[in-house]
């Protein structure tokens, strides 16, 4: 024994035995029950997906560290935890490339770009998972549990998850005990409430996480669910389904408690949990997706810096009242700092310096101003030009007028119709056939656009015929008749005489519409057109080979 010892460090001389690596290992142990249940439910494919995910996370971390010549950090096991969490938050039918993509995004972009473990502001696993979640086909196929998936090809029978029922405001068909054990559709890790609770208890006992975040999170969701259960469903049952449904428990236990992306102070924990809960309820009830845990946690991740500030413990020894007072005073002081500063533009003209002509200084000033304003002005001008050009060369007014004219014609030809839809059928003699629909969306009849030879040229008209073969109206689209002579036959009064007719209209005798005097040729042309239209509609109806109702 030597006589002198060099002191190695300041107090304390003891250290608690836990390490970062041990904490990560504990998280992995806590996830093992859920992983086991996933393998039991979804077969070996779950295990294969997990292996791919963990492997790619570790690989990307090692590669990034190698390429950037930083110290290898895979020994702290954080990449393994990320991989495990990523895999367990995916459906078992996911293709193998998805966890690889998620791992690349989570590990490289979210984690390493920001400085590695502890510096990322979003949970890498969750970020990778939500990136995969933006691909719609992954979000909609949920394999049924106990349907053993083959390792290679995926032809999963998609099962509706309990969340999609809850999203509609009704209870899912699974009873509560099934929800608890987990035979339901969903992501691999989230289905079994029981296994997740086991993980939570383990993490709490090992002091890896504090109970504040999960309790605040679940508590907020539970309270809101209790207060807002739909009619006819008892609030406790609704609450239980809300708590066990979807990824809430997994999010509350494993994602929201990620140390790097949650606040460090106890008060911050509570605020973080409550915020996650509120956002989850909001997204579950009002977004188009049935589930909102992932986005809720990611959003709160981005607010951690703020919660860290808000949640700082109050100073020891000054009491709550004084602490609040100080905080308010500080806030008031900060608010007082915000004041309007009157702009003080300096319009002094520059004095010509040595060796300059009298006007040169002004030129310099102008040049520098142009330099500052120039890029902005040119961008502004270019934008204006583009907008003007688009406006100029797309003839919006004409397009608008066409739509308006079409509507006018429809309302004349078939006053009861509110919507017209062109059918794909083009019978001989008709320019187009438009189906007219009433206010409740039922088919009223067809408007047939026909052309016939008038006195001065072709007359284009649209004839409305209802389903009984009765004319509902005639609208003239265009004509070239002589003003005040031929147009006498085109007045609304003259045209109204066709309304209610059916069969073949003659110019005289029974079922006839008399020609307007002085415009006989035009009248004949219109009658011929109406007859043709009636004929076309009658043949449309008797043909019966095309289901016109479906053409909308």
């Amino acid at each position: 024994m030597t006589a002198s010892y060099a002191p190695k460090r300041m107090s304390p001389q003891l250290r608690q035995p836990s390490t970062t690596r041990a904490m990560m290992l504990d998280v992995m142990v806590a996830l093992t029950p859920a992983l086991g249940m996933a393998i039991f439910f979804f077969g070996l494919r779950a295990l294969a997906l997990t292996a791919v995910s963990v492997g790619s996370c570790v690989l990307f971390e090692a590669l990034y560290r190698l390429l950037t010549r930083q110290r290898q950090s895979i020994g702290d096991l954080s990449a393994c935890v990320t991989g495990l969490l990523l895999a367990l938050s995916l459906p078992a039918s996911t293709p193998y490339w998805v966890p690889v993509m998620g791992a690349a995004f989570g590990i490289i972009v979210v984690k390493q770009f920001y400085g590695g473990l502890g510096r990322n502001f979003m949970n890498p696993a969750l970020a990778g998972r939500m990136l995969a979640g933006t691909l719609p086909m992954l979000m909609t196929t949920w394999p049924q549990p106990m349907q053993k998936l083959s390792l290679a090809a995926v032809d999963a029978v998609s099962a509706a998850t309990p969340m999609s029922y809850l999203h509609e405001g009704s209870l899912p068909p699974q009873p509560l005990n099934i929800m608890f054990l987990g035979q339901r559709g969903g992501c691999m890790g989230e289905v079994s409430t029981f296994m997740l609770l086991l993980g939570l208890v383990y993490l709490l006992l090992r002091r890896v996480i504090s109970a504040r975040i999960p309790l605040a999170y679940l508590g907020t969701v539970a309270v809101i669910a209790l207060l807002s259960s739909p009619e006819g469903i008892s609030p406790p049952v609704w609450t239980a389904y809300q708590l066990m449904g979807g990824g809430l428990l997994m999010g509350a236990v494993f994602f929201a408690t990620d140390p790097a992306t949650s606040p460090v102070t106890p008060r911050g924990h509570i605020m973080f949990g409550v915020g996650c809960g509120l956002l989850t309820v909001l997204l579950r009830s009002s977004s188009s997706y049935p589930e909102g845990v992932g986005w809720a946690v990611l959003t709160m991740n981005c607010m951690v810096w703020l919660l860290d500030r808000l949640g700082l413990p109050r100073r020891f020894g000054i009491g709550n009242f004084a602490a609040t007072r100080d905080k308010l005073a500080e806030m008031r002081a900060s608010l007082a700092e915000i004041k309007f500063v009157r702009p003080q533009p300096d319009f002094k003209l520059p004095k010509p310096s040595e060796g300059q002509a009298p006007g040169e200084a002004y030129l310099d000033l102008l040049r520098s101003a142009l330099k500052t304003v120039g890029p902005f002005a040119s961008v502004f001008l270019a934008t204006c030009l583009v907008i003007f050009g688009v406006h100029r060369f797309t003839d919006l007014n004409t397009a608008r007028a066409e739509i308006q004219a079409e509507y006018e014609i429809l309302s004349q030809a078939m006053p009861l119709a509110v919507v017209g839809a062109e059918t794909p059928y083009h019978p001989a003699g008709a320019l187009s056939v438009t189906a007219g629909y009433g206010e409740e969306g039922h088919l009223l009849g067809y408007c047939v656009s026909v052309q016939s030879q008038g006195f001065g040229g072709p007359v284009t008209m649209t004839v409305g015929v209802d389903l009984n073969g009765v004319v509902t109206g005639v609208a003239i689209e265009s004509h070239s008749e002589t003003d005040r002579v031929g147009t006498e036959a085109l007045t609304p009064e003259a045209l109204a005489r066709y309304v209610g007719r059916s069969g073949t209209i003659r110019t005289s005798g029974s079922n006839s519409v008399d020609a307007v005097s002085g415009a006989t040729a035009t009248s004949k042309a219109i009658t011929a057109g109406v007859n043709r239209a009636l004929n076309i509609v009658a043949n449309l109806d008797t043909a019966g080979e095309i289901d016109y109702e479906d053409t909308q």
Partner: protein, 447 residues
């Protein structure tokens, strides 16, 4: 009814090694006693003897000059030298070296014992100053000043037997074996200071001492004294935390227990005070725990102040395996020894020889994963990880808002950190940076 304080950590106590070992006197007194002149926080005392002078047990060898506390010979013999000797706080400092003649003759010029019933505050302060009693829990602050300042301003006398440091059992053994003396001393002090309440605070792992004290209290029937066991938690023994635990009051920033109307005295201090008051004996001996996984026979010893620590270790059979670290004053707040030749001081409550497996030798500190355990462990409501981040960013404005001067260096943050980041040092560095206004910052974090 006890209150709780925020934070704290729960190190493995490992007190079972010595908790059943009674306080034993040294069978062989050391050949040489070293009495350092610096045994009081405010500075060195003035020697009263010259080399060659004969001294007896209890004879004053140093007195309070401008600074320091009186010191007494704890053995009889001859002053060999007044020279620089290793000091437990590190380095060398002047000390009176006494050659022991093993006769143990007592000094005759001792003051008369005082009558507990007619004790006055002046007598108490004078006697405590005469006996050279300092805070024996590790503070080394002059006890007489604390008592004089507290007179009339306090309503609670807290006798600190918390002993929240792991391994150490000296205070516990003292309370168990001398409970009658301690209670008598506490009552006398409380009467002089007009405290309404005397609270003996022990941690929950000392239940048979609690039982012994309660039995005595029942017999004496004095309602003013109570003993409360508290859940074991470090740093319960710190002044601010023990005041908060007992009364629920928080000591204001920069203040001491007096600002919360409390006076906190360590149990060894109370015992020394009653010895001085009612036996007329100065402070010459104290209880020391010699323990740790490397010690052959861990023991509690009643040792003369000034005994070299090497002698204590030899009394306990020496080291059975190589000690990775030797500490005085408990593993949490204590100081790593530079030399075993350093003597027992008035505040030395333990000699802990840790093996490598107990001590968890230095591992390179990892990266902060923001787990927040340091924030939840800090009893002074600081946020070490946030302070560290601000220090890394060299953000003085932020740092000055974090009340760094509140840090009491208890080390909970460093203890709990799973990444082994030396957070106490970081906070201390940040505090000194704020004090100096950032002038001396070299842009480098001490690893």
């Amino acid at each position: 009814m006890t209150h709780s304080f925020f934070g704290g950590v729960y190190p493995a106590t490992r007190k079972e090694m010595t908790r059943r070992k009674p306080l034993a006197r040294l069978s062989v007194t050391p050949q040489e006693i070293v009495i350092p002149l610096i045994m009081c926080a405010d500075g060195p005392a003035t020697p009263m003897v010259r080399p060659g002078d004969p001294v007896l047990v209890g004879q004053p060898v140093a007195r309070r000059g401008q600074t320091g506390a009186a010191a007494f010979a704890s053995v009889s013999g001859r002053v060999a030298a007044i020279e620089d000797r290793p000091h437990p706080w590190g380095g060398y400092s002047p000390a009176i070296v006494i050659q022991n003649d093993d006769r143990g003759d007592h000094y005759e010029g001792r003051p008369t014992p005082l009558d507990p019933r007619q004790l006055t505050l002046e007598q108490l302060v004078e006697r405590v100053e005469w006996a050279g009693i300092v805070g024996m829990g590790g503070g080394c602050f002059p006890a007489w000043e604390k008592i004089a300042r507290s007179a009339g301003k306090t309503d609670t006398l807290i006798v600190n037997v918390a002993e929240c440091e792991p391994y150490v059992t000296a205070d516990y053994r003292l309370l168990l074996e001398r409970s009658e003396h301690i209670l008598r001393g506490a009552q006398a002090i409380a009467r002089c200071l007009r405290c309404e309440r005397v609270v003996v605070v022990t941690e929950g792992d000392k239940l048979n001492a609690v039982e012994a004290v309660e039995r005595r209290l029942r017999r004496s029937g004095n309602g003013r004294v109570q003993i409360i066991p508290v859940r074991t938690c470090y740093p319960l023994g710190a002044e601010k935390q023990i005041v908060q635990t007992v009364t629920g009051r928080e000591v204001p920033p920069g203040g001491s227990a007096i600002d919360a109307a409390c006076i906190v005295l360590n149990v060894a201090t109370v015992f020394a005070i009653q010895d001085a008051l009612f036996q007329g004996r100065p402070l010459t001996h104290r209880a020391v725990t010699i323990t740790g996984g490397a010690v052959t026979r861990p023991r509690n010893l009643w040792v003369p102040i000034g005994t070299p620590l090497r002698h204590l270790l030899e009394t306990c059979g020496g080291l059975k395996e190589e000690a990775d670290l030797i500490i005085t004053g408990g593993p949490m707040m204590g100081v790593a020894l530079q030399s075993l030749e350093a003597p027992v001081m008035k505040d030395t409550n333990s000699l802990v020889c840790l093996t490598a497996w107990e001590h968890k030798p230095d591992t390179p500190s990892g990266v902060c994963i923001r787990c927040g355990k340091c924030v939840r462990a800090c009893p002074m409501h600081l946020a070490p990880t946030i302070i560290r981040r601000a220090l890394e960013d060299h953000d003085l404005q932020k740092l000055s808002r974090y009340h760094l001067e509140d840090c009491n260096a208890c080390g909970c943050c460093s203890f709990i950190c799973p990444a082994q980041i030396p957070l106490v040092e970081t906070v201390a560095q940040a505090a000194s940076l704020v004090r100096k206004g950032g002038a001396s910052y070299d842009g480098q974090l001490r690893a």
